[in-house]
């Protein structure tokens, strides 16, 4: 039985894992870099160990150092979160070798899932349809270009070690392919330490729909319904929701059965996600397995009533799943908005720095997973996700309205955020009607509509702004007046 879990991660996901462990009476071990000295996960864990400098390679990706902490602290299991070492099969193997329960799939299964080409082959064998593309890794940009010309542009360059939208580029011409090749390689190395590239057909006007899969060590497997994550920027998810407006009960079951097959095909254990593209004609194509707990898992928790971290721990403990597929029913609708520290108008460039003040939304069926607190800092060393704002409703409309309300209540001082963008998106008829696709932002000119919204918002505030200026001027003028009397130098400077 797992009694002490090291969380090889930081930020909101470390806090998320700690919460369930605490509730279950399981001890937690936090690790932290220099940069995270004042982070909440350090304060909330049972024990906390400093593991190195700010740069991920020197701390959260430092397998040996993390292993040292696990061994010296008497940890019997490790939760990798997402990102960092979560899909690194070398780390999973290192844990296995040291008799530490890695909360996730086996190293072999992870290796198979992580090798997008071998995984694709396994899916084809299991009759799970996949996206058309090259037969394997490409050795350089020129070979990638050759394949691209065979399957036809646009194509996607994808690092098999990427994830979360990093290490991925859509290119439309030979020139773009040549330029993008190095970037994809570099991003993948920056994020997970290695890279190897495949080329796939890029399908247009697609929806990104993924299934939560779940399989125990006794071969019992179920799916925990789908999530639609079509609203993206630069291939990174912004807004997720469940159920998908493009999936009805029949389709849910049909694809759900494929998902169970997919899990079996790679001998997957614990929780994971099978990602699909849904083409405009309604066809589903498997893209990849995310061999870890995902960022957007809370919305699936909301509609299933399950605690996914508890489920992960139970499976890691060797317990059989406590339910069959037929026991599981979706309850209501849930939406997640990823609150990123980024400047929408600067091509989503990161925005970092101190956050002197923050107001975290709450209310009926509102959940906000975040590492923010008044006085914290958003670090440039780690990713831009500051908070995951989730709302549930009995109907989609109820969850949408609650989300708009919660977005209005969310105040983060000091950094640019994606909150205004989400308010604009959630108000569009296209979003309300479920006309989702991965090019949603471009297709519906969302950035321009955001600009318009912000302009109108300023107009709405004009009266109060002038009132604020009047009051300030009055107090400011009286200050100047007294300065004039007591400080002649000030006066003379004004007169110059």
């Amino acid at each position: 039985m797992i009694s002490k879990v090291l969380i090889a991660n930081r930020g909101e996901i470390a806090l998320r894992v700690i919460k369930t462990c605490k509730a279950l009476g399981i001890k937690t071990v936090a690790v932290y870099s220099d940069e995270d000295r004042n982070s909440l996960h350090v304060k909330n864990a049972t024990e906390s160990y400093h593991i190195g400098e700010a740069a991920p390679a020197k701390s959260y990706l430092n397998q040996e150092k993390i292993l040292d902490v696990m061994l010296s602290s008497g940890t019997d299991a490790v939760h990798p979160g997402y990102g960092f070492l979560s899909e690194n099969d070398d780390f999973a193997r290192l844990c296995e070798k040291n008799k530490i329960n890695f909360i996730g799939p086996s190293a072999d299964s992870m290796n198979l899932c992580g090798d997008k080409m071998r995984c694709k082959a396994a899916m084809l064998k299991a009759k799970v349809p996949t996206v058309p593309g090259g037969p394997g890794l490409v050795k350089d940009a020129d070979e990638a270009e050759k394949i691209a010309n065979e399957i036809g542009y646009p194509v996607m360059l994808k690092s098999v070690y990427g994830g979360g939208g990093r290490g991925i580029r859509i290119v439309n011409t030979d020139q773009e392919l040549q330029d993008g090749y190095e970037t994809v390689t570099a991003e993948s190395i920056a994020a997970v330490g290695k890279s190897a590239i495949i080329v796939e057909k890029f399908l247009e006007k697609t929806r990104h729909i993924e299934y939560q899969m779940c399989r125990d060590h006794h071969g019992n497997a179920v799916h925990l319904f789908e999530r639609e994550c079509s609203i993206q920027r630069r291939n990174q998810k912004l807004i997720e929701q469940t159920p998908s407006p493009a999936v009805d009960e029949a389709k849910r079951e049909e694809i759900g059965e494929l998902v169970v097959k997919a899990a079996e095909a790679v001998d997957y254990t614990n929780l994971g996600t099978a990602e699909f593209l849904r083409a405009d004609n309604g066809e589903f194509y498997f893209i990849e397995i995310n061999a870890r707990l995902q960022v957007e898992h809370p919305i699936s928790e909301m509609v299933s009533g399950l605690d996914f971290v508890k489920l992960q721990l139970d499976i890691a403990n060797g317990e059989p799943l406590p339910f069959k597929q037929s026991d599981l029913k979706m309850n209501g609708y849930a939406i997640e908005c990823r609150i990123n520290a980024e400047d929408t108008f600067l091509d989503f460039a990161p925005s970092t720095g101190p956050v002197p003040n923050v107001t975290i939304p709450s209310g009926p069926s509102v959940r906000c997973d975040t590492y923010l607190y008044p006085g914290c800092t958003v670090s440039p060393f780690y990713d831009s996700l500051m908070a995951k704002l989730c709302t549930w409703g009995q109907t989609f409309e109820e969850s949408r309205l609650r989300m708009l309300n919660a977005l209005n209540d969310f105040y983060i001082q000091g950094v640019e955020t994606s909150i205004p963008l989400y308010k604009t998106i959630l108000k569009t008829d296209e979003y309300k009607n479920g006309q989702l696709s991965t090019d949603f932002l471009k297709r519906f000119g969302i950035i321009d509509r955001l600009k318009e919204d912000l302009k109108n918002q300023r107009k709405d505030k004009q009266l109060a702004a002038i009132a604020a200026a009047v009051m300030h001027s009055t107090f400011y003028q009286s200050r100047v007046k007294s300065s004039t009397v007591t400080n002649p130098r000030w006066k003379s400077r004004m007169d110059r």
Partner: protein, 170 residues
């Protein structure tokens, strides 16, 4: 007094008409009277109820007549004595603006992973000058104008802060 709301390019008249009580005022904006009740006030900001609507304002900067405020989370710029400002600006020769145009600044903090130009290179607006890494992403910094690289202020592997000068381009 006249106030210009820069964001919507409109000018308003505003003044205090009378003080009703210690924290209540009657103010006039464009010939219409409004009631303002101050809930909380200090040098950095104010919470107030204007005609029974709550607002919160932070005063960020206040230089030579230009006020930058955040009102209910919305950033706004207000100019008072706007004519005076223009005169000051003109007589200063706009030196600051010229220098800003010469300097290519980083809009984000990050680590320089590669530099794509060298001193003396001719660049076009939009050409990549260097690549930054921030939050695990590669971000290309592009030239803001056509010109020649006069100097480079960065080295590969260095970290830069927001607004640091990366290069001078003339």
């Amino acid at each position: 007094m006249e106030f210009k709301l820069e964001d919507i390019e409109e000018t308003f008249n505003g003044e205090i008409v009378s003080k009703i009580s210690n924290n209540e005022y009657l103010i006039k904006i464009q010939d219409k009277e409004h009631h303002i009740q101050i809930l909380d006030i200090n040098s950095r900001g104010m919470e107030f109820v204007l005609d029974n609507h709550y607002h919160s304002v932070n005063y960020l900067e206040n230089q030579t007549g230009e006020m930058k405020i955040i009102l209910d989370g919305v950033p706004l710029t207000i100019n008072k004595n706007s004519k005076f400002d223009k005169i000051v600006y003109k007589s200063s020769g706009g030196a600051d603006v010229g220098s800003a145009q010469k300097n290519l600044r980083s809009q984000i903090p990050g680590k320089i992973v590669s530099i794509e130009v060298k001193v003396g290179d001719k660049v076009k607006k939009g050409d990549v000058v260097c690549v930054l890494e921030s939050m695990k992403m590669q971000v290309s910094v592009k030239s803001h104008k056509d010109g020649e690289i006069k100097s480079l202020k960065i080295k590969e592997g260095n970290s830069v802060n927001k607004n640091d000068i990366l290069a001078e381009i003339e």
